[in-house]
Structures are given as structure tokens and as C-alpha cells.
């Protein structure tokens, strides 16, 4: 019986981790539904980007207030996790504050965790106010209605509760240490929770132990819950920001990908010696379709980006189309891509590993042509994204489908393209008049 708590702890820990690993597997499978893309080039630059943008948060601080607050929560998250390591060891071995022998270093660590926890609470409150009291424009756009908005608040509540549990645990522990209760070794300094401990004065030892144990258990249970909440939430960015910044395009943002399948056809058309009846080489036949109408037509890098998006809306608030009241929102492009991918994933799960046609696709059912045609390809969204997501590439892939598969460009664009085809200029001028400007000078 003595080892019951340890066993219970091990069981809960393992199932928490098992459930998480299972979801990561799903995530990998879904991302793998995307088309192949070779991103094995220039590793050193990719590592550098990841270190600078994800680890170093370099693009977060473009907006100083949100950036500074975010860095606090981020540091809090990473550093306080050292404490989680101690909690796990204590839980498994039945020890208490197993790192206490570190002495002054331990005191310093606990103090640092406490101060960070306090700062995280401040930041989380500010974040909540920005979303719910100040109602900053980017947090109340149409695509944020319902679940996305609740999700955003939910994450803040979980973080708040976790920090309070951490501090309450320390406060009760501190009181128990002062009362020299057995098992509660004197260790750590408590610059923040000592004030909470003040509120616990007069509580009997039994109650203090109850508070300490309850807070300790709820804290670790909360962490395991949060770990598993990630997959169902926009909060996956805390993990995926790293691969996403690593795999993001290294080309100048103005460089759009040249479609190889088109290159082959163009070569065939322009090469006088090409044999149009020759059998296509293995693996070089025309693709099933040009461009993208569903998530499986996108590359896995784009799908990874969709899961990475944390719906901060910096892209949308910088988007000239969105700023002037058009329907396009780059954030919605990413959210739609993720939601459709999840739908496809669930379809595969429900049908024993194969996708059964559901009569839906990303185009029209999620993203309308009106949104796609409002884009000016200005790259403001790409520049704004703190984790190197490229919504523009998805917009362009979907435009390719509309134009090359469906001939569904707006009429004026068809006229423009007709002009290029016939006269080599987007306007109806004769190519032979191209040097006329020199004459009338």
C-alpha cells in the first residue's frame, strides 16, 4: 500500500505520455498526406533560422508589448519545466524535493521559478485583457468566432491555474518547512509564495499537507492535461514552431516556385526536336492536377505550417486586403487548411486507414475564390508571421488550380492573359510598337 501513490503516479504519467505520443503519430500521418518537397538543402542556414526565429523569438518583438509578454511566458514555460523534472522524479520515487541537495543553487532555482511564475501570471492577465477587454481587432475577426476564441482563452486559464497551483504548492510547503514537519526538508527560497504562505498561517499541519499534496497533484495532472490539449488546440506552435522555422523557404519571398510539370510540357512545346508521341519517362507524366483544390494537393511543408499556426493574426492585421475590408484573411487560409486536414484525418481514422470521398474540398467548402482573388501577393503576411508561415504560397497554389484546371479566373484577368499570349504585354498593344516610346521623346 505504501507504494500506491508512486504506482498511481507512474500510471497517470505513462498514460498521459502514451496519449500524447499517439496524437503526435496522427499529426505526422496527416502532415505526411502532403506532397513531397525537398528541403534538405542548406542545413546550416536552416539551423540558424530556427535558432534565431523560434528559439530567439526574433520576429515576436516586432510588436514590443506582445513580444515582451510572450518572451516571459515562453521563458517561464521552458525554465519552470526544470521543476517539472523534479516533480516527476519525486512522484516516481516518493521523494520530496529530490534536488534539494543542490543547496544554494536549488534556492536560486526555486526563487527564479517563482518570480517567473509571477511574471507569467501578469503576462497571462495582460493577454486576457487584450483579447477580452481591449478586444484588439486581430482577436475579434470573423474567423475567430466560437471555438478559436474559446481556445485562446482556455489556454490562458490553464496557464493561470498551473501557475497558481505551483505557487500554492510552494506556499504550503514553505509553511510546513517552517513548522519543521517531517519529510518537508528545508529547501528553496520562496520570494513570491511566502506571501501566499502568510495567508495559511494558523492552518493545522494536516490541512497544510492536504493543500500541498492537492496542489502538487493537480499541478502535474494539469501539465499532463495541457500536453494533451495541445493537439486539439492552436497551441501546437510551442512544439511545431521549431520544425516550421527550420523547413520554411530560404528563397527571396518574391520568388514563387516554378512548377516542374509545367516546365516539362513547355519544353515539349517549344523544342522543335521533341517527339510529341514519345512515351513519357517513368514518373514524369503530367500530374493529376495543376495547383491545389484540397489539402492533399499542398506540400507537407504547407500542412506543417497549418498545424503550426497559433492564430495570433499578425498576418491578417498586416494584410492590405483585410485592412480594406476584403474577405481575405491569411490567418483564415491557415486555419481552414488545418481544419480541412483534420477532417481528412478523421475520415481516414473512421475508414480503417483509407480516405473515403466526402464530397468536400478545401476550395469552396472552406476557402472561397473571392478570398483568393483579393490577394495582392505583397508578402506582408509572410513577413509578419513570427514562425515563418507562408499563407501566400497556399493562395497561389489554389489560384493555379482555379486558372489552369477550371479556367475560372476573373474575366479581366482572362483578358490580361489573352493579351500577354497574343501581344506579349498585359494590355492590347502590338509588340511591334514596343519601342515607340523612344520615337516620341
Amino acid at each position: 500500500m505504501q507504494y500506491l501513490p508512486n504506482l498511481l503516479f507512474a500510471l497517470i504519467l505513462l498514460s498521459g505520455i502514451w496519449f500524447f505520443v499517439r496524437n503526435v503519430g496522427k499529426l505526422r500521418r496527416n502532415i505526411g498526406l502532403g506532397k513531397d518537397r525537398d528541403v534538405s538543402d542548406n542545413r546550416p542556414r536552416r539551423w540558424k533560422n530556427m535558432a534565431r526565429i523560434a528559439l530567439g523569438q526574433s520576429k515576436m518583438v516586432v510588436r514590443p508589448v506582445a513580444g515582451a509578454m510572450h518572451i516571459i511566458v515562453y521563458l517561464g514555460f521552458i525554465i519552470i519545466n526544470v521543476e517539472v523534472l523534479e516533480i516527476i522524479i519525486d512522484g516516481l520515487l516518493g521523494t520530496h524535493r529530490v534536488f534539494a541537495p543542490l543547496g544554494p543553487l536549488y534556492d536560486f532555482l526555486i526563487a527564479a521559478f517563482e518570480i517567473l511564475a509571477f511574471l507569467v501570471i501578469v503576462a497571462v492577465v495582460v493577454f486576457w485583457l487584450r483579447r477580452n477587454a481591449l478586444r484588439l481587432a486581430r482577436f475579434v475577426k470573423p474567423e475567430m468566432k466560437g471555438w478559436p476564441s474559446r481556445d485562446g482563452n482556455m489556454i490562458l486559464y490553464i496557464e493561470l491555474v498551473l501557475m497558481f497551483l505551483f505557487l500554492s504548492m510552494n506556499a504550503a510547503d514553505f509553511r510546513l518547512q517552517q513548522l519543521e514537519v517531517a519529510h518537508y526538508t528545508k529547501a528553496g527560497t520562496f520570494p513570491v509564495s511566502q506571501f501566499l504562505a502568510g495567508l495559511m498561517e494558523g492552518l493545522p499541519v494536516a490541512s497544510l499537507i492536504l493543500v500541498e499534496r492537492t496542489a502538487w497533484w493537480l499541478h502535474i495532472l494539469g501539465i499532463l492535461f495541457f500536453l494533451n490539449y495541445l493537439y486539439y488546440s492552436k497551441h501546437l506552435h510551442i512544439l511545431l514552431a521549431f520544425p516550421n522555422t527550420f523547413f520554411a523557404s530560404l528563397n527571396p519571398p518574391g520568388q514563387f516556385r516554378n512548377l516542374e510539370a509545367v516546365t516539362r510540357e513547355v519544353r515539349l512545346m517549344t523544342d522543335p526536336s521533341a517527339d510529341p508521341y514519345a512515351a513519357p519517362e517513368e514518373g514524369t507524366g503530367p500530374p493529376e492536377k495543376f495547383g491545389a483544390s484540397d489539402v492533399t494537393d499542398l506540400s507537407w511543408v504547407q500542412l506543417l505550417a497549418a498545424y503550426t499556426c497559433t492564430e495570433c493574426g499578425r498576418c491578417t492585421s498586416e494584410c492590405p486586403a483585410n485592412q480594406t475590408g476584403k474577405k481575405l484573411s491569411p490567418r483564415k487560409i491557415m486555419m481552414d487548411t488545418r481544419d480541412r486536414l483534420e477532417e481528412v484525418g478523421k475520415n481516414i481514422d473512421a475508414n480503417k486507414g483509407t480516405f473515403v470521398e466526402d464530397g468536400k474540398q478545401l476550395l469552396n467548402d472552406y476557402i472561397s475564390p473571392e478570398e483568393l482573388w483579393a490577394c495582392t501577393s505583397c508578402n506582408a503576411c509572410v513577413q509578419a508571421c513570427p514562425v515563418s508561415i507562408d499563407p501566400l504560397s497556399i493562395i497561389m497554389d489554389m489560384r493555379q488550380y482555379l486558372v489552369m484546371e477550371q479556367s475560372a479566373a476573373p474575366a479581366e484577368l482572362n483578358a490580361m492573359m489573352g493579351n500577354i499570349e497574343n501581344n506579349g504585354a498585359p494590355w492590347p498593344f502590338n509588340q511591334m510598337d514596343r519601342l515607340n516610346w523612344a520615337k516620341d521623346s
Binding site: Q255, E265, A374, T376, C378, Y401, S441
Partner: protein
Amino acid sequence: MAEALKIPTMAEYAAEGKQPEVLFWVGCAGSFDDRAKKITKAFVRILTRAGVDFAVLGTEESCTGDPAKRAGNEFLFQMQAVTNIEVLNGYGITRIVTACPHCFNTLKNEYPGLGGTYQVMHHTKFINELLKEGRLRLEGGKFKGKRITYHDPCYLGRANNIYEAPRELIEKLDAELREMKNCKQRGLCCGAGGAQMFKEPEKGEKDVNMARTEQALETEAGIIAAACPFCNTMLTDGVKGKEKEGQVAVMDIAELIAQAEDL
């Protein structure tokens, strides 16, 4: 305007067995659009003054395919690209300068993958180099103290990370450069990119060019400097829409330099 412009073509150069120092890629707007043609001529005057040995393709030039690609017609884009590359490679072109950021971006970034690799420069960068090499001198007196704001073309700035070359030129004019609320990496688009130039905007509260023009007018600058023929059109329309065309001029950087030098 004193001297007549001499515009040599690549065909003429090839006939004489000569190779120019640089090819001036004029672009569709620069060739056909009445407003942009003035920019083309201003740039040619600068090239002539600096003694740059340049040539144009003339009737052998064709759309780079940029608007087709951004509109989703990869097929048409690559047809254009392959045809242009054949002409450029046929003449053995190695250096290209252009006054259009869209042509610049496409030639520089998207042609190499299709067999056309050149050293491509935007005219603001090229003029800057002429000044640094001492081939062009700038007194700048004409614009001394005048307030100028600069609009970053998306395909020059964000797309290709060129923010300083145009600004350095404005500063060389001894003008007071007043930045807009959104500038450089956070510059606001004029509304023409992504083939929007050739279509009506989607339904919304206002047009993008008006939003940008408002930012430009907030600086109370008398001149809005642009470095792209399409931005120029959009902002000129915006200024007209605000009935400010009497007070505020939209000018290309090349025009500013040419005017400063009485070219």
C-alpha cells in the same frame, strides 16, 4: 530634354558585333503606359549622362510573365519565360537593369530555374552604383529641404530586401525623407500586385491604393517617391481621388534624379 534620346537595340549591337555594358529591360508598363514611359525616358537620360553603354531589346522584348504567374497561370508564365530566355541567351546577355520591380523579381529569381541566369539590378540600385563609381554626379539643389516620402514597392522591399538604395538616392538629393506610418518591412502595398492591377478589387470598405495614399498624405510631403510603375499609377490615382494632385506629385526616383540634374 535638350538632346534627342538615342536608344540602341540589341539587334543593332549584335549586327556590329558589339556587346553593351548592360541591357535595359524596359518592361510592358515602361514601354506602353504613358505615365511609365516618362520614367523610362528619365532613366535613359540618366544612363546617357553617366555614359553607360546600354541597349534595349525593343520589339524583341516581351512580358516577363509576372502577372500571369501571380494570377495562377503558370503555363503562360513559363511560355513567356522560355521565349524571353531564348532571346536573352541568344544575345549572350549577362547584366540586366530594369525600372520595374516586378520584372526585376521575375528575371532575378524565377528565370534561373528555367535556364536564364543574369545579374539583374533594379534601377535604384544601379543609379546608386553609378554615383558611387563617380560616373554620375548629383548636386541635388533642386530638392534641397523639400519633404519627400518614399513608398516601398512590395516586390523590391519585402520580396527582395532592397530598402536602402532608393532611400540613399533621396538623401543624396538633400531632401527631407519623411517615412510613412508603414514603411520598409512593414510597408503597405499599393494594391496593384498579384495581378490586381488588371482587375477590379473585391468587395470591401475601401481600395488599397486609397489606404496607402492616406498614409502618404499624412506625412505632408509634397512628393511621393515611388520606384515601380504600377505603384506610381495606383498612388497617382489615389492622390487624384483625394483631390490633392495640385499639391502632391507622385514621382519615380529616376525622375527625381533626372530633374535634379536638369536632364
